[in-house]
Amino acid sequence: MSVPLLFFSYFALATIVLSLIVITRKNYIHAVLWTLLLFVHISGIYLFLNAEFFAMIQMIVYAGAILVMLIFVIMLLNVKHEDHLSDVSSLPIPKAFLVFCVLGVLAFTLQVSYLNSTGKFSIDLVNKISDAKLLGQVFYSEANLPLIIMGVVLFVPMIAAIVLAGKRSDE
């Protein structure tokens, strides 16, 4: 077994095991901290794909910002150990069905679109011009419409937050 494969298997296995640990924790803070470890491993997998930029963005945005917000909400709402937290066995059948449907669609898409073709963004291209630069080029030329739509979608919760905060201060 080659060394890169060994490392990759570690990261892949750890990602799965850590996800399972996250969803089985009773204590929310512990769950969030296991998620942190999970995110670090996911950014490790990005490194294997020669996507250093993504790996670091994963750490800064997901691990550094979003999870901290999550911890804040949990601490400020003072949620204690949840007893009515349903475990996997008591998951309602419709929900489980939905989950498997989504998984099926995902697997099908991956099989059709990814495994059969290498695409034009090969590792050589990424290595030639750095991945941050390539990402910028794709974002602002080919994918500019999705980028704008994404911006609008992210703008909506911001308006919602401002409206909610404004209402609070009127009272």
Binding site: E52, A55, M56, G64, V68, A132
Partner: protein, 333 residues
């Protein structure tokens, strides 16, 4: 393969050792300067001029009782200081001390320093939460709110540096500055420099932003329940973070280990001095600034702190970004 790993480990050990020695003497440096600022002498007893004081403090910390409070979450309580120290020490791996003197010359060095800064917050939150004490908890929450708020203007200030250099590699940023006739990025982006300087103070929880440790309100903030060597680790992380921030300031704005070309052209003899000397001089200039601020400026209230971050520094950093974009497009195509 094996040889490479061994060499790498030796390199890491050397850098770590040198950094830790610097950190130990930063404490001495701070106590001496603060002492003289307050018309005292500072440490004088241990060794000549008190030079062995850091080692005496270290030995004292080692032999202190290691106390874990009864209601604490034992595992997290032990992990918290380790997370803080690990994150700070990892940042040193990408910092170029001189030309080629860098442990990991990666393409995303700047982002790694930012990422490690934001991961360090977890150590503080966990420390506050796992102590099971209201002072520690409030201190932890405050500190994390502060660090997250100040990360944003800091990131935007660094974005302007990125635009100027066109690279995320810290060594390349220095080389890009070498090409300018004045040799430093501080000149078109003095605003960004100012924003980064203030954010560096806030990110490392130093005066005037040492809110999480405001004694009069919160005892010692998230450090309240810590004692002995665990407390020492937090202390170590704080001073190492000061070094990381000072290094980032000198690399991103003052040209790292290089001198401005007009100076070296005027006095070619300056080229004989190794780059590390200039780098350390710049770093220690900022370290002195940190201590100087601590000796002069009183602490802000928490609402003032957030106001400075969001209403003053953020618009300032955005202005800087805008100006730099125009300058880069018009004057430096």
């Amino acid at each position: 393969m094996l040889m490479d790993i061994v060499i790498l480990i030796i390199k890491v050990a050397v850098v770590l050792g040198v950094v830790l020695l610097h950190v130990a003497y930063a404490v001495y440096f701070e106590r001496k300067i603060l002492g003289h600022m307050q018309s005292r002498l500072g440490p004088t007893e241990v060794g000549p001029l008190g030079l062995f004081q850091p080692f005496a403090d270290l030995i004292k910390l080692f032999f202190k009782e290691d106390n874990i409070p009864l209601g604490a979450d034992k595992v997290l309580f032990t992990i918290a200081p380790v997370i803080v120290v690990t994150c700070v020490m990892t940042s040193f791996s990408v910092i170029p001390f001189a030309a080629g003197w860098v442990l990991a010359n990666i393409n995303v060095g700047l982002l790694l320093v930012l990422a490690m800064g934001s991961l360090g917050v977890y150590g503080i939150i966990i420390a506050g939460w796992s102590s099971n004490s209201k002072y520690a908890f409030l201190g932890g929450l405050r500190s994390s709110a502060q660090i997250i708020s100040y990360e944003i203007p800091m990131g935007i200030a660094l974005l302007a540096v990125l635009i100027m250099s066109g690279s995320l590699n810290l060594s390349d940023i220095v080389y890009a500055q070498e090409k300018l006739p004045w040799g430093m990025f501080i000149f078109p982006q003095i605003l960004g420099f100012f924003v980064f300087l203030v954010c560096a103070l806030a990110e490392t929880n130093r005066t005037p932003f040492d809110l999480p440790e405001a004694e009069t309100e919160l005892v010692a903030g998230y450090l309240t329940e810590y004692s002995g060597f665990r407390w020492g680790l937090f202390f170590l992380a704080e001073y190492s973070a000061m070094y990381v921030m000072s290094s980032m300031l000198s690399i991103c704005f003052l040209g790292g280990w290089t001198l401005p070309p007009f100076l070296t052209n005027l006095f070619p003899i300056l080229n004989l001095m190794p780059g590390i000397v200039w780098f350390l001089l710049k770093v220690y200039m900022f370290m002195f600034f940190y201590i100087w601020i601590r000796g002069t400026v009183p602490r802000y209230r928490f609402d003032q702190l957030l106001k400075i971050g969001w209403k003053f520094l953020l618009p300032l950093s955005l202005t800087n970004l805008f100006v730099i974009m125009i300058i880069k497009k018009v004057f430096m195509p």
